[in-house]
Symmetry: C2
Subunit: 403 residues, 2 copies
């Protein structure tokens, strides 16, 4: 059984359940005989290179459980993308604090960091286990059936679209909601998860897995509006033209990029406003509204999928078991083993690192503007229960008495 000190950090965008993984790993590590200190790094790898560590061995169980219920990375996060020197410095700090296992909760960039640090340790013959614990609302890690954080964000998006669909039925018009997702459309696709009746919205769903054609978009909206007298649309922030240029980039004068070279898509309402403008300019539909869901999708207090929370806890616990009981490096993965059942496994870090999964073709309709029943079967268990059962007026019409 691997002994020594443990270090845990959180990277990338927060999720509603990322602290479940943190607390799962902390409690599991504290239960391993021979484990000394359980350190946490403040703000991900940035906290490691700055030696900004806290002693999680001192946290009470009560406070850890409160942290587990709290959305967003409790240790703080970072968008830093470590290069080889940065990873060397990480390794130096881990050595200096006698760390024998390093757990990094994050997306595919984080798994790449764990991989490099692991390789450095092997090259020096230093006994260090590096394990990547998955999280991302984008649901875009390969091998994983789905990732912790996605189910809760999907529940938010499904609940939001169920609500705005009722709103749009009460005050008809066109409504466009822009959802997070740069390359993978899973979260935007989840907008359909609370649909029940055939005329429930969203009626159109545009995903980054397909080319976005502005003329086809206007034609689609016009067709639905002519048929239903209203239209609710879900659009991924990452929709792009045939060249792969994001639609937002084509509009925006100043484009902000992060350390990974990614264009800033969130934190601005520009795409929704652009698409609203298209409909207003090219149709005679009067009431056209757009919202950008923004940061609420990943942080909203009190919108958690119980399946997601339980799995996020479980991957944190499993990571410690893999490292300390089985003495292995790797990236923890979730596999679907039933309808619905999931199992936790671990694969080599190289299999996950810096790779991106997108939606299966089987999840997207032929026309490319909606999801299939296969996707709904896929996503609904991840959202879990807890959505209120809704109703609509079914009373018969009253015969007219006036002209």
């Amino acid at each position: 059984m691997l002994q020594g000190n443990v270090l845990i950090a959180q990277g990338g965008g927060p999720t509603a359940v990322i602290n479940q993984s943190l607390v799962g790993a902390v409690l599991a590590a504290r239960a391993i005989p021979g484990v000394g200190k359980v350190f946490g790094a403040r703000h991900g790898v940035r906290g490691i290179v700055d030696e900004d560590l806290v002693d999680l061995t001192m946290e009470t169980q009560t406070n850890l459980e409160a942290i587990a219920r709290t959305p967003c990375s409790a240790l703080g996060s970072t968008r830093d993308k470590p290069d080889a020197d940065y990873c060397k410095r990480i390794f130096e700090v881990l050595k200096a604090h006698d760390v024998r296992s390093f757990f990094y909760i994050g997306g595919n960039d984080s798994s790449d960091v764990a991989r490099i640090v692991s390789d450095d340790a092997k090259a020096e013959g230093f006994p260090l286990r590096c394990v990547h614990i998955p999280k991302t609302i984008d649901n875009d890690l390969v091998i994983n059936d789905h990732t912790p954080g996605f189910g809760s964000a999907a529940k938010f998006v499904a609940s939001a679209f169920a609500g705005v669909d009722h709103d749009n039925r009460a005050l008809p018009g066109v409504y466009i909601g822009v959802v997070m997702g740069r390359h993978a459309g899973f979260l935007t696709a989840a907008s359909a998860a609370a649909r029940i009746e055939p005329d429930d919205g969203p009626h159109l769903i545009y995903l980054p897995e397909r080319t976005f054609d502005a003329d086809a978009f206007v034609a689609d909206v016009s067709r639905i509006f002519a048929s239903l007298g209203r239209c609710v649309v879900a659009v991924s922030e990452g929709v792009h033209d045939a060249d792969g240029t994001p639609i937002l980039t084509k509009l925006s004068e100043t484009v902000e990029k992060d350390a990974h070279g990614n264009v800033q898509l969130s934190g601005t309402g520009a795409l929704a406003d652009l698409l609203v403008g298209e409909i207003k300019a090219k149709t005679d539909i009067k009431r056209v509204r757009g919202d950008t869901f923004g940061y609420l999708q990943r942080s909203f207090l009190g919108c958690v999928s119980e399946t997601d929370a339980a799995e996020a806890r479980a991957v944190g616990e499993a990571a410690v078991r893999f490292a300390h009981v089985e003495d292995r490096d790797g990236s923890v993965v979730i596999k679907r083993t039933g309808d619905y059942a999931a199992a936790i496994d671990m694969v080599d870090l190289h299999e996950i690192a810096a790779k991106t999964k997108v939606m299966d073709d089987a999840f997207i309709t032929e026309a490319g503007n909606d999801v299939t029943g296969a996707f709904l079967s896929y996503v609904r268990p991840l959202i879990g229960g807890g959505l209120p059962a809704v109703g609509r007026v079914r009373a018969p019409a009253v015969p007219k008495r006036l002209g």
Copy 2:
């Protein structure tokens, strides 16, 4: 006891609990001996003038309870502002269907419609009771301590800001969230309701009750950011300059107005983007993000204050009692009678119609950029319980071993 047919309609912006009032009124009316049909008008007064009525006497109790749980006006709504001829037509339709009591669930414009129709009936000697049932997420009806729909929208806004505050603590920067509210800042002020510790955000709150000064805004944000290394800001969509001109209007090239002459403030991310631009242009803060909460605030499925839901049901029931048992016209109001207890009363329609309440000075800090403890005491019972207890890492720092 007033007998005859009953007609119920819903007007203005939907809320999360407006159907509780509908169902409360329908069930109460069906229980009155001698009441014949209970009609619903599709899309508010528009459905009355079009004779687009449904027979709610035929709805099952099960379906009514499902409707009560469903956000947004189940009968449909309208933004029509009836003039004298329109009200005459309403009265003609009510007469033609032997309606003896008319219930209009809406804001102050709706109470004005009830008032005019009531006056028409009196002028003709037609025995008709007209009752206004309050609802608005803006919480801006006079005499009422608060209005049904506000508590649930306030819960959404408080939950959203609690979440984005954790997000902003994990990935520090400036975050600006724009909240609905044209003249009254109650809903924006509710952003503070989930604050617990002194450094919890939102750290700044800008309300339409005070003049918005862009330079003071930049100075405020810079000061908070210098102190905390981050800053979360809540801004009402209705913030305006010293002349009363909405900040959004000053920016927008094409301004859309509704039938009431109101400038369209929602359904666009322009104000958040404008304010983000101000901070980026006038400070050296790098990470600045803005979200516009939009329609999610009033429609999100599954974000309901239990206090709000119960009171919305109760005002619908009380309206029927006032009209049919006490044979009175009027506007139903909620009064606070304890901490926390509320009572339902009814006042003359003229006292509510077309008047707007704004926040008390006692609810706003001297500097005009935050709310007081008095406001928190006011708002918290309306939001009710149900927000998860959160935690933060309290572990001690680990002494550094490297340089």
